[in-house]
């Protein structure tokens, strides 16, 4: 019996650690995400060239693995002679900024609405459910396209528009999670001893829904990154000369029959980042709630 407290305090942590290490998807995902985050943070130190520096005499140089390529420009140069690797590295900043920024805004909106609806129920729930239904009836890409076309594309606008459009999944999940938790004994007990609603929400409800929140956030980060790429591809996302990966695909598409690497390189980067964020999200769900794993 003397060892019991020690055992109960260490088992969940070591269990979590071993589950994380054993989860291949999460390990792959987190490795790639960490790699991209480091690229984004250390871009000025890592990038071999200025991503904005044009060299019109050295346009469309192929990557190093092509016989015409050189180590001077490992991933070649784009249609304005800018170093493709440097633009790719700086582009990771744009993708992460938009993904995290949009997920943050939508997370705040969705969590607030979902928790309110789940905790209070009744008319509040009715109104929030109506808002969610309205939001779900709007096609995200079309609304984003229309808004950006009217307001004009910029980094801030894209983050804002996506943030205001992607809160529905947060709201739905937070609402159902809060509905379950509000009927738990410890919430009833907190209410019985006279805790304020704010305190109950912050200390009893939120800590118990935060796992779901993180999982949804990772999915929405990936979703926002893909949407930004789509908007930029259509010329309505971030504006040149910012090096967005979607914009790089768009700029390279005219030459895709002749120089396919122009779209393959940013395309693969986009694919890898979105896949890894999703793997990380799935992994977090699995390791934090192993009973739900399938």
């Amino acid at each position: 019996m003397t060892n019991l407290p020690q055992t109960t305090s260490t088992l969940p942590v070591s269990g979590l650690k071993s589950r994380v290490l054993r989860h291949k998807g999460m390990m792959i995902g987190s490795t790639i995400v960490v790699f991209v985050v480091l690229l984004a943070l250390l871009a000025p130190l890592i990038a071999p060239h200025d991503p904005y520096q044009q060299d019109l005499l050295n346009r469309l140089k192929p990557p190093v693995w092509d016989p015409r390529g050189s180590w001077e420009h490992i991933f070649g140069t784009d249609h304005l002679g800018r170093d493709y690797l440097s633009r790719l590295i700086y582009g990771s900043r744009i993708s992460l900024l938009i993904g995290i920024g949009a997920a943050l805004i939508s997370g705040v909106i969705g969590t607030f609405l979902g928790v309110m609806a789940g905790y209070f129920g009744g008319r509040v729930d009715m109104v929030v459910t109506f808002l969610i239904t309205v939001r779900l009836s709007m096609p995200v890409v079309l609304v984003a396209l229309a808004v950006v076309a009217i307001v004009g594309g910029s980094l801030q606008v894209v983050i804002g528009v996506l943030g205001l459009l992607l809160w529905d999944r947060f709201a739905v999940v937070m609402r159902s999670s809060t509905l379950q938790i509000r009927s738990m004994d410890y919430v009833t007990a907190a209410r019985a001893v006279g805790c304020s609603t704010t305190r109950i929400l912050m200390t009893e409800v939120m800590p118990n829904v935060v796992n779901n929140l993180i999982v949804i956030a990772t999915l929405e980060i990936a979703h926002a990154i893909i949407l930004e790429a789509a908007l930029s591809f259509l010329g309505l996302g971030v504006q040149p000369p910012l090096p967005s990966w979607g914009l790089m695909v768009s700029e390279g598409k005219d030459m895709m029959l002749f120089e396919p690497w122009l779209i393959t390189i940013p395309g693969v980067a986009l694919f890898a980042l979105v896949l890894s964020v999703n793997l990380l999200g799935d992994g977090m769900r699995d390791v934090t709630a192993p009973e739900n794993r399938n």
């Binding site: 904005y52 044009q54 019109l56 346009r59 304005l80 594309g153 040149p240 030459m255």
Partner: protein, 506 residues
């Protein structure tokens, strides 16, 4: 190289198999398959402003005159002769041996009907500038008509030999614009056999085409024009043999297609020129562009030669005057601004911007050219807030006075006269951001005089002042790349109107 060709052919074949319908093109079936990149709203000549519509119009209809693209000489077509009675009256003798595709006889009634129909603003023919310069037409005989102009209009012959074509009075009176758009009838070298609006148009050679036409009889039996919006899909169709002719091929793509050796690639200069437009008069409010020193600094900061060489390519040239060199009245003998970033910095410092400034910058096409110019501007300390818009949004914003600085282009509707560009931008219209009285007065003189020397002199004064004050900064002329089957003889013309009735099979 062989491997690369194989891969390209494979990609082309794969893309072609994904298309919704097979193509039966080529010399053996005497069918020329053409791809265009836009859906035409109508192929009625007077309810269409797209260039592809103009191309189709030249196939179906004829004008009273025809401008020889090689000599720029005005030659009678449906007319046999013309005469200026005075500076506002034109008389035409008409051909008596012309029939429309539906068998209707061409005579003075058709000309009078067409001209009076177009002169009525209630009918909404567009673009209005093509049809708003005469008051009416009168019948003087079965084959003789008189055109009464509202005012002196020196470019009348240019319009009568291009965009103003003759319609059959009985048929058009019966079916109207909707009927004409679905089943067009004209006197031109090709007759329409099928119209799928916005999608596909089929033509066959008009056997009864009048022999005296300066256009000449068509050689190729059938033409099919299809809309394929995406340039890569067009190329894939070309590689797979589904399409024989495409145009507007991007310079880099054209280089690669030519390098394959399987297709003919031709480049031709066009009348379109690029320009930077500045808010010299403060229409947008107080901003750095109000200062001529800033405008001159920007002119010195742009490396036009470098951009033409690397990006625009082809037969494009740097232009110093706000017009295309072949246009009547155009002179390049005006103030010139060489690429000189140091001079630009000095001018900016003189204007009170030693560290540069930030300005909004709009564009609607050629994002890469715009980015190259932004790079040049950054180098002298000018940072821009770049907004890239669709053309309609760009045009509305500019015309509403919402842009102190923008990059645009103008094709002059292929009208070979300075009035089609300089007067459009600098005679007080919606696009005029300088509103300079001296320029406007000179342009008015040039636009309304029939004395060629007076016109030339007036336009020179206007163009010189525009260049001196840098109200607008001309950049370069544009060019078009054409890629087509090696079985085809086709010669592009500088007015950017492909004449398929002159094309032949080898």
């Amino acid at each position: 190289m062989k491997n690369k060709n194989f891969v390209l052919s494979l990609i082309g074949a794969l893309a072609a198999t994904m298309m919704y319908s097979p193509a039966y093109a080529d010399k053996s079936s005497d069918t020329l398959n053409i791809a265009i990149d836009r859906e035409l709203e109508s192929i009625d000549n007077y309810y269409n402003t797209a260039r592809e519509g103009i191309v189709i119009s030249r196939m179906i209809w004829d004008g009273l005159l025809y401008r020889d693209p090689a000599t720029n000489e005005y030659i009678p077509n449906l007319a046999t002769s013309y005469e200026w009675i005075d500076s506002k009256t034109l008389q035409f003798d008409l051909r008596s041996d012309v029939n429309f595709h539906n068998g209707e006889k061409f005579d003075a009634d058709d000309v009078v009907f067409t001209m009076n129909y177009l002169a009525d603003p209630a009918n909404g023919a567009k673009p209005a500038r093509n049809v708003n310069w005469w008051s009416n037409a009168e019948k003087l005989g079965d084959y003789k008509v008189q055109l009464n102009l509202k005012t002196e209009f020196p470019a009348a012959l240019e319009f009568l030999s291009g965009p103003v074509v003759m319609y059959p009075n009985e048929y058009y009176g019966e079916v109207g614009p909707e009927g004409m758009a679905l089943n067009p009838v004209g006197t031109g070298p090709y007759m329409v056999t099928s119209v799928e609006p916005g999608k596909r148009y089929k033509f066959s050679k008009y056997a009864g085409y009048h022999s005296g036409s300066p256009k000449g009889s068509a050689s190729i039996g059938k033409i099919v024009i299809r809309t394929i919006a995406e340039s890569n899909t067009q190329l894939a169709e070309l590689f797979s043999g589904g399409i024989d002719w495409i145009w507007k091929v991007k310079p880099d793509q054209a280089q690669r297609v030519e390098a394959q050796g399987n297709f003919t690639v031709k480049n031709s200069s066009t009348m379109r020129i690029g320009y930077l437009n500045f808010d010299a008069s403060g229409r947008h409010g107080e901003n750095p562009m109000n200062d001529v020193r800033v405008r001159k600094a920007i002119a010195h900061s742009i490396n036009r030669e470098g951009i033409v060489e690397a990006l625009v390519q082809g037969e494009s040239i740097v232009v110093n005057s706000l017009c295309f060199p072949t246009q009547f009245g155009c002179t390049q003998d005006v103030a010139k601004y060489d690429y000189n970033p140091e001079k630009a910095k000095e001018l900016l410092a003189e204007a009170g911007y030693p560290n540069g400034f930030e300005t909004p910058f709009l564009a609607y096409r050629n994002r890469d050219y715009a980015e190259a110019m932004i790079n040049n501007l950054n180098a002298v300390g000018i940072t821009v807030k770049f907004t890239y818009l669709k053309y309609a949004a760009f045009r509305d914003k500019v015309q509403d006075g919402g842009s102190p600085f923008n990059f645009g282009t103008w094709g002059s509707y292929s009208i070979n006269d300075v009035s089609a560009i300089t007067s459009h931008f600098q005679r007080g219209g919606k696009d005029d951001y300088s509103r300079d009285s001296e320029v406007m007065e000179n342009l008015k003189t040039g636009d309304t005089s029939v004395d060629l020397a007076v016109r030339k002199d007036a336009y020179k004064k206007a163009l010189s002042r525009i260049a001196e004050e840098v109200f607008m900064f001309p950049l370069w002329s544009y060019n078009t790349n054409y890629a087509f089957s090696k079985d085809l003889n086709f010669n592009p013309t500088p007015d950017e109107i492909p004449r398929f009735f002159t094309a032949t099979w080898k």
